[in-house]
């Protein structure tokens, strides 16, 4: 019980810290929504009009900061997220977020899961066949691929498969000439547009999983209980999965939770390269246009996502691993 309370208070504290940072950083820095709007309308609209437009959407730069801060906290938590004062002026932030969310969740979320499963499978085999052909060249290659600038990989894939070969579309989430709906044409178009960004993420994210899993396997295989299983004459497959891999995967689970949490926020550059209208793309828009309301909500969602998945991982680990249960 003490464990749960501790976890939950940590959760709330982090959330509060993130929201506070996100309130004060933009407001203490040079530049404000009014200037951004003036630049975008190129002086065609008078500043006074712009100011009244902004204030009608809830932007009050001249009111005191502290009450503003408390209203902000209340609004964030209660879901009164207000309206965008950036690119899509006046559109409810909630609409923008819920339009973008499925695309990010679908693309990045699925890719993260696939990378985790595939990476662990390869890592198990590489660690088991220590010194085999797979294991001899794999680590050095993966150390490099795992640290490639992934947005650059995206650009290379566009160069090869879109510009040169013309097999796949270079950007957007679906062909705008097709009416959205559950038609085969639309679903096919969505999948087609997801291939390149998904591979971009897969190429760079799978290496980390393979390497950690391989190293965990190697450490686990040296344990006495694996030796015991060998001595009992168990089948290799049984030792590999039932004895070694099962235990070697435990540390990876919290890593997986962490990466699931970063699904929402870790995709900014991929969405930028592919003009994929997910949450990351919206964040860049919001930052470019000093769209405080949108920025605040996105940042809060990013933090909540990480916190929730960490919390879930903690409880999952406690359920999975008796040692973690005993410690908590």
């Amino acid at each position: 019980m003490r464990y749960v309370v501790r976890r939950l208070s940590m959760f709330l504290f982090t959330l509060w810290a993130a929201m506070t940072l996100n309130f004060f950083i933009p407001r203490f820095m040079p530049g404000n929504p009014l200037q951004a709007l003036e630049a975008r309308t190129r002086g065609k609209v008078s500043p006074a009009t712009l100011e009244s437009i902004l204030s009608s959407f809830g932007y009050k730069p001249n009111s005191a900061l502290v009450p503003q801060y408390f209203t902000y906290l209340k609004d964030m938590v209660s879901g009164a997220w207000g309206q965008s004062i950036g690119l899509s002026l006046g559109e409810p932030v909630r609409d923008i977020v819920f339009q973008a969310l499925p695309w990010t969740l679908g693309l990045i979320g699925l890719t993260t899961v696939v990378a985790f499963l595939l990476g662990n499978a390869v890592g198990i085999v590489a660690g088991w066949r220590r010194g085999g052909t797979l294991d001899s060249w794999l680590p050095s290659t993966l150390v490099i691929t795992a640290n490639l600038p992934y947005y650059w990989i995206g650009m290379l894939l566009i160069l090869l498969f879109a510009s040169t070969l013309g097999w796949l579309p270079p950007d957007f989430n679906y062909d705008p000439t097709i009416l959205p709906g559950f038609s085969p044409g639309f679903v096919g178009s969505v999948l087609q547009h997801a291939v390149l960004p998904a591979f971009t993420l897969l190429i760079t994210s799978i290496g980390g999983w393979i390497l950690t899993m391989r190293n965990n396997m190697i450490t686990t295989l040296a344990e006495d209980y694996v030796r015991m299983a060998r001595a009992k004459g168990l089948a290799d497959r049984k030792i590999m999965f039932g004895y070694a891999a099962r235990n070697a995967m435990l540390p990876n689970i919290s890593g997986f939770a962490m990466s699931l949490g970063f699904v929402l926020s870790g995709s900014v550059l991929v969405e930028y390269v592919f003009n994929y209208p997910g949450l990351g793309y919206q964040l860049l828009n919001a930052v470019d246009n000093n769209d405080y309301p949108l920025m605040q909500v996105l940042f809060m969602l990013y933090t909540v996502a990480v916190l929730v998945s960490l919390l879930a991982a903690d409880f999952f680990m406690a359920w999975l691993d008796p040692r973690a249960r005993a410690k908590g």
Binding site: N22, G31, S136, N147, M155, T219, L284
Partner: protein, 317 residues
């Protein structure tokens, strides 16, 4: 952990060479190109293909790509080394203080560390870099502010495991000052973790800084690889058929990050021999050892051999 063992490891050697090459480019760009104003617009014709005059062609602004590449090494290297160093110092300070002081200080520092660890780093970096202006100093501060927490956790864990060792107890009994114990007794035993942390932070800084430059948040007064990519992307170099403008700077970033990553991984291997690649010779030897061990009918043969060499394994923990 000696320099000689770094050179013997092939991964480390490749990493060192790549790193040295970047240092050379950053320190003496004049040695590699005769162009002195790589940023000036319209010096040459736009979108020229590669030729002897322009090894990698020119941008659509009419700048020589090769010379931009050469001059671009300095900014990212400066940022990576400085941000890596500061983040490591901060991690050591906070981690060791938390572990050594314990109690309420530890609770507070650990809380701050964990909060920073969980914050969505890249969006936070974007917001900070966007509003704090675009200079190398801001970039370094942003990277340090978001990058120290992982290391601090590691340092704290390592320092905690040291806290009750006899040699520290001995120093305390001798009546040494706290600062002396931390600086001259604890820190030297943590050298390998500190170096690994520096390499990791530098790697993270290369990638994060280039990523920020790529979305146009870098210092544009100076050439940088990320900004080159930003320009190439916003001028639609792909559609203009100017593939080298995209391939070259990205490859440069990839090679520098590979340099740090390889050195870091090799460092891990040297510290933790269990991860080293198995050589055929070693395999034969270990089989022979296993046979001998089996003959001796000692079930702990392998484990015993490991315990006999605590020095090597101390680094792995």
């Amino acid at each position: 952990m000696k320099f000689a063992s770094l050179v013997k490891n092939r991964k480390a050697l490749v990493g060192l060479i790549l790193f040295a090459l970047t240092v050379l480019l950053a320190a003496f760009p004049g040695l590699f190109t005769s162009v002195h104003n790589p940023g000036e617009i319209g010096t040459y014709g736009p979108n020229l293909g590669p030729s002897t005059g322009h090894l990698l062609g020119t941008t659509s602004y009419g700048q020589d790509i090769y010379s931009q590449l050469v001059y671009g090494a300095r900014q990212v290297l400066e940022i990576a080394l400085l941000a890596g160093a500061f983040a490591t110092v901060l991690a050591v300070l906070i981690g060791i203080t938390a572990a050594y002081m314990g109690g309420i200080v530890d609770e507070a520092l650990s809380l701050v560390t964990n909060v920073v660890l969980i914050l969505p780093t890249f969006p936070l970096m974007i917001i900070l870099a966007k509003y704090a202006g675009q200079s190398n100093e801001v970039m370094i501060i942003v990277l340090v502010a978001t990058g120290w927490s992982y290391g601090a956790n590691q340092m704290r864990a390592q320092a905690l495991s040291l806290r009750n060792r006899d040699f520290l107890e001995a120093a305390r009994v001798r009546g040494e000052r706290r600062s002396y114990i931390i600086l001259f007794e604890m820190l030297p035993t943590m050298t390998s973790l500190i170096v690994a942390n520096f390499l990791g932070s530098a790697l993270y800084s290369v990638l994060a800084a280039s990523g920020l430059q790529f979305i146009g948040l870098g210092n544009t007064d100076q050439q940088s690889w990320g900004t080159m990519l930003y320009n190439a992307h916003s001028m639609e170099a792909l559609q203009a058929g100017n593939a080298l403008w995209i391939i070259a700077p990205g490859l440069a970033i990839a090679l520098l990050s590979a340099a740090f990553a390889l050195m870091n991984y090799a460092f891990d291997e040297i510290g933790n021999p269990a991860l080293r690649p198995v050589r055929r010779k070693d395999l034969r030897r270990s089989r022979k050892a296993e046979r001998l061990a089996a003959q001796a009918a000692d079930p702990h043969a392998e484990k015993g051999a490991r315990d006999a060499d605590p020095d090597v394994y101390a680094d792995a923990s």
